[in-house]
Symmetry: C2
Subunit: 574 residues, 2 copies
């Protein structure tokens, strides 16, 4: 364990070290694996049932109390603020289309979904860093279901049908967790994560454009123009804060403040601008709201989906399978990225157990008639980043970083002045707090505040989050490697050891997969896009190795998303 | 002279070296000074008459042919393009108010003024790097005269009166040049130049805001909103290009291209956006135009100012004196900054001679009824910057630079990858060409093109030029030194040797002077602002040394704007 003079970190480090803070008899994940009774090719498959879940629980349980006490750390405050805004606003924005198309949901349903996910994963989850909420894909999924069943002559009740779809998906989630299928995550390398992250980034950018163009069609022209102004300002000011936080211009405390609160400040400031006289008179569109704590259409919160006709129960199954594919990929990739190898984590993960929990949240979502939540990209990695403790690393830390972090090395700044991540405040409070804020928003006065946020600002937020995720993405980084002046590329850059044609081939495969995914979501077949995303895994495992890459080249171009420590939960990396 | 492998530079270096390219008998400026007949305290003042002008001409004349042949260099192309846009568009924009208030000028007058200045200074001038044109102050000056004389019961013809004001100013210019008063420029240190540059930057920023707000009042609301969108886009895209040109992201040729053409490309692209369907329908305001080659009000181009009544001729004198104060400061500071110590110049300057020429252009401006042109900040230094030849410096060059350039050192990049200025393409063609393009704009078809440029884009251009000049300004740099994380400040930063209280005191004096200047230009007394600006010189020479600075501290905080080589024309630095 790294030694450091940072008090906060020392406190954290010691608490994260099972040998010191926990009774020395507590088994580590590695111990548990070594001791499990049936191990090896001959082991009885029944004995393996739920073994992943059990190991996850056994590994994480000893840290449970510390997960709460460790939250007594300032970093929890900015992480909560940043994650709250990054989670709730895009969630609502993505849902606008679903709300308007189906008339079955309101803003209250979206907020409740975020709260439920945060509550269950922060209180019961093994991976409380993974932020879950309402994603773009689930809103597309629910909307597509609406369109399909509305076309039928004897259309069932929409929420009953979705309830069954969710139940089927939940059941497959539980089966997946019990059969340890999350072990397949070892095949989910940076190749798939980067491609999916790239796709999500572009969905964010596209959605920002749509928020604006929709107003050009529907609302008054001056209002739409004001929305464009606010969107650009939100984007520019957010990036300005980010860029200031990365320069040597201010004291590091100020820089950290800008990094922590730049986006929330931009959001509040640009929202405020909408109420400046001239802009206000143009009346730009704001977020819609519904009644406080009230579902749409005055229905009761409980959906009696068991009343669905038998025939439709069967039809719901294939939809449930597609939802399972989506969540298996989306939620687990979010978890992997939230626990990526760039974060110096010290508490064990739990993919099997958390996927079981995701089955429960999906089931509850169906029961309550709300969109099902799952792991969020880029919010989950944003959350972990915000919890990073920076400091002067020891020499050992420094060497480790050098081999893992491409981005840092290329920036060209003089290294001696820069702080590096030396720890993460791993705890459950920030996730719970950001979710609880969603519940607060459900109350009357705060719903009114939500209603004050102009849609233009939301568009700017989409652009900022999309562009921000894009610039850190592995595909972008490889493309930038090509554009970069070779004189400015460090001599020890690993990509220098890969033939240029092979880098291009690797990027090309990723871009084709991205293009196919992005294209299909623009069509009526949108609901099938999880299948294409899922196909990334066999493409990487079966096809890519047959192309003319050397083993060393592939090792440089690709790699596990999370560190060996994290991958232990799913049986290690490839 | 630095040796370098760059062919273009070698060609230039050798041509700039009088010992090799010129006959060895050609005297250098230093030789001429040493040999001048009457030198010393006892010399007859009559013998000194026009000695500055004569020495300037003798020093520069040997380079005259080379000044044209040296222009066979690619850098002249981007320098022409950049300077043209940076000169003509703000010139027109500043004049809009004057045009509308007085109804005595049109766009044609502004373009002609720019051309005349460019023609005279590039063909006959000793300092062809100094770009002259229509400034903000001269438009304020002319407008104030209009307001004052219109209030009189027997108001004279406006252009006749201005003609006399200009003639008086011209006469004082000639006297100044003949009496070698430009030698006072040795007292014009960075203290005054930075304060004036700071003031001009804020005028640019303010003017950009005014261009936008005026539309909010006058034109339709959607049109004004589109102007705001275009202004923000122009600002952001220009800075984006600039920031890309400073990163290690692209090959250095691409980066130079972005630095060279980023602003013109942004300008054309954002102007084009105004004609996109939805934006076009809002009909944002564009630049006004007049008839081709035609002065306003169908008058003839010659103004018979000699018809002015005798009484008004006398009243014109104090105005002429104020104009002379303005031009003495503004033009010479522009020349100093265009030949600042950060530029490795090798051809001699000529302040006395050029100030004599400025008298001629001022007189001609009165005769033609056009706003009098003078040296432009920030356009003149932008022009020289654009003519910089970059390369790997020899070790000697490097050491020289280190001691002179604060900015470069603080940026924190790894020095080995960076190119540095090793020469300037000193020639007359880029100045002449950018002025001739103004003449081209006077023709019918191109006037139409000018009419297509939206005022919003102009506002963005003002913001970009103002903010760009501001970030390089010495006052800003000293303020940033305070904000900067001390860990990131290089150990050899000279400001570290100055007591913090003294840095603050020095900045405070500059900011108070800036505040007074800026405040007075907002009032009816605006016409008196050159007096305040001029007062900077005695403040620095008489007041500042009496405050509790040590000599070393003052030497670090202040310094000559131009190098000793350039300052030789005005009798050396302090």
């Amino acid at each position: 364990m790294a030694t450091t003079t940072n008090d906060a970190l020392q406190n954290m480090s010691s608490s994260a070290d099972p040998d010191s803070a926990q009774p020395s008899t507590t088994p580590t994940l590695r111990d548990l694996k070594a001791n499990r009774p049936a191990h090896g090719p001959n082991m009885n498959w029944v004995a393996k049932l739920a073994s992943g879940i059990i190991l996850d629980v056994r590994a994480r349980a000893p840290y449970y109390v510390k997960d709460w006490t460790d939250a007594w750390n300032y970093r929890v405050v900015p992480a909560t603020a940043l994650t709250f805004f990054a989670n709730v606003l895009p969630g609502i924005a993505f849902s606008l289309d679903l709300i308007e198309t189906t008339q079955q949901y309101g803003v209250a349903e979206v907020l409740l979904s975020s709260f439920m996910a945060a509550f269950i994963f922060s209180v019961f989850g093994a991976q409380p860093l993974t932020i879950a909420g309402v994603t773009g894909p689930i809103t597309v999924f629910n909307k597509t279901i609406f369109r399909i069943i509305q076309g039928q002559p004897d259309a069932p009740n929409y929420l009953h049908f979705v309830g069954w779809v969710y139940l089927w998906a939940a059941i497959i989630h539980w089966i997946t967790a019990i059969l340890n299928w999350c072990n397949f995550l070892k095949y989910v390398t940076l190749f798939s994560c980067d491609t999916f992250g790239f796709y999500v980034s572009w969905v964010y950018l596209q959605y920002g454009v749509q928020v604006v163009t929709r107003q050009l069609d529907s609302s008054s022209l001056p209002g739409a123009f004001v929305s464009i102004i606010l969107a650009i300002l939100m984007l520019v000011v957010s990036f300005l804060f980010q860029s200031l936080s990365q320069k040597t211009l201010f004291h590091r405390h100020i820089r950290r403040f800008l990094a922590d609160y730049g986006m929330p400040i931009s959001l509040i400031a640009t929202s405020g601008m909408a109420y400046w006289g001239t802009f206000n008179s143009a009346n730009p569109q704001t977020l819609p709201i519904s009644g406080a704590f009230q579902p749409a259409n005055n229905r009761s919160w409980l959906v009696p989906f068991w009343q669905l006709e038998g025939r439709w129960v069967g039809i719901a199954l294939p939809f449930g399978i597609i939802l399972w594919i989506l969540f298996f990929f989306d939620h687990n990739v979010s978890s992997l990225m939230a626990q990526g190898s760039e974060f110096p984590l010290r508490k064990p993960p739990g993919f099997h157990y958390d996927f079981f929990l995701l089955g429960i949240t999906t089931f509850l979502a169906g029961l309550l008639g709300i969109p099902a939540p799952n792991g969020l990209i880029p919010q989950a990695p944003i959350h972990t980043t915000s919890l990073l403790v920076m400091g002067r690393p020891t020499k050992k830390d420094d060497e480790e970083r050098q081999s893992s972090n491409l981005d840092e090395k290329n920036s060209g700044y003089i290294a001696e002045y820069r702080e590096q991540p030396v720890g993460v405040v791993e705890q459950r409070v920030s996730n719970l707090a950001q979710g609880s804020l969603c519940l607060v928003l459900l109350s009357g006065p705060f719903l009114h505040v939500l209603n004050l946020i102009p849609r233009g600002v939301l568009a700017g937020l989409f652009w900022f989050m999309g562009a921000d995720a894009l610039q850190g993405n592995g595909i972008t980084q490889k493309i930038l490697y090509f554009l970069r002046d070779k004189k400015s590329t460090p001599k020890d850059e690993p990509l220098r050891r890969v033939r240029k044609s092979r880098i291009l081939l690797f990027i090309a495969i990723q871009l084709i997969a991205f293009g196919a995914t992005f294209a299909i979501t623009q069509t009526i077949a949108a609901i099938g896009f999880p299948v294409i995303i899922m196909a990334l895994i066999p493409i990487r495992t079966l096809l890519v190795p047959r192309l003319s890459f050397t083993a060393e080249e592939l090792a440089i171009l690709d790699g596990p998303t999370a560190s060996p420590f994290t991958m232990e939960s799913v049986g290690g990396s490839l």
